[in-house]
Point group: C2
Chain length 134, copies 2
């Protein structure tokens, strides 16, 4: 089960310690820069579409099974699978964002909390009422 | 970027050709059986919680960049990143389900369209109004 990077995040966010916990907590707009060999996979994605971006959170620890949610020690420890901690056995990030612009192999998206240089492993459309915004 | 299986799907679904395209299209309830070494990661997950299950769709082709959505050739071909096709460069499945029961290392969930034996790579809580059911 070996992942390939289909692209990379281009963002002003460079420091994990300064990154917001969630996209809707002040994360900047960012660009998804897709590698040329995967260009055909983007066909049909349009401005305004809601997508899930799956990333590889390359600065994470994979040895962690319990955390204080949101890195706040006043929150009781719990299992990582009940949290969105980037530290987990498979540090795959899941980000629900909207496409703001399409420029060839690059998609601009709103409020992405992934760091600059984060590998992108998949892009999926948001489908069905239960995945859409209220 | 090497994934580890944190567990496996136990389901009555055995044949990709017979599997529903989406969980809400008649997929059965199923069990997520988590490996003992990851048990601590489940701490805090409860009946009624909505979760995302990430799987490795092990029967998929990774060479596909364009598909007819829903395997229906009357649908125009488009890029896989604009579809939920299991065939894609990184065949990671994303399933939003509700926990029906917790039995030790096993979680029963509603309407999972993954095949029996599918490796599980992550479990995350659904958070925020924009990820919840309407």
């Amino acid at each position: 089960m070996e992942l390939v990077a289909i692209g990379i995040v281009e963002s002003a966010l460079d420091d994990r310690a300064l990154a917001p916990k969630q996209g809707n907590e002040g994360a900047p707009d960012a660009w998804l820069s897709v590698a040329a060999e995967f260009a055909e996979g983007l066909d049909g994605l349009c401005v305004g579409d809601e997508i899930f971006v799956l990333t590889w959170l390359h600065q994470s620890s994979r040895e962690v099974l319990r955390v204080h949610p949101r890195d706040d020690i006043s929150n009781p420890e719990r299992g990582v699978f009940g949290t969105r901690s980037p530290d987990r056995p498979n540090p795959v990030g899941l980000h629900r964002v909207r496409i703001l612009a399409v420029d060839g192999l690059r998609l601009q998206v709103r409020n992405l909390e992934a760091l600059n240089g984060t590998p992108i492993i998949d892009i999926k459309p948001v489908i069905g009422a239960d995945e859409r915004s209220a």
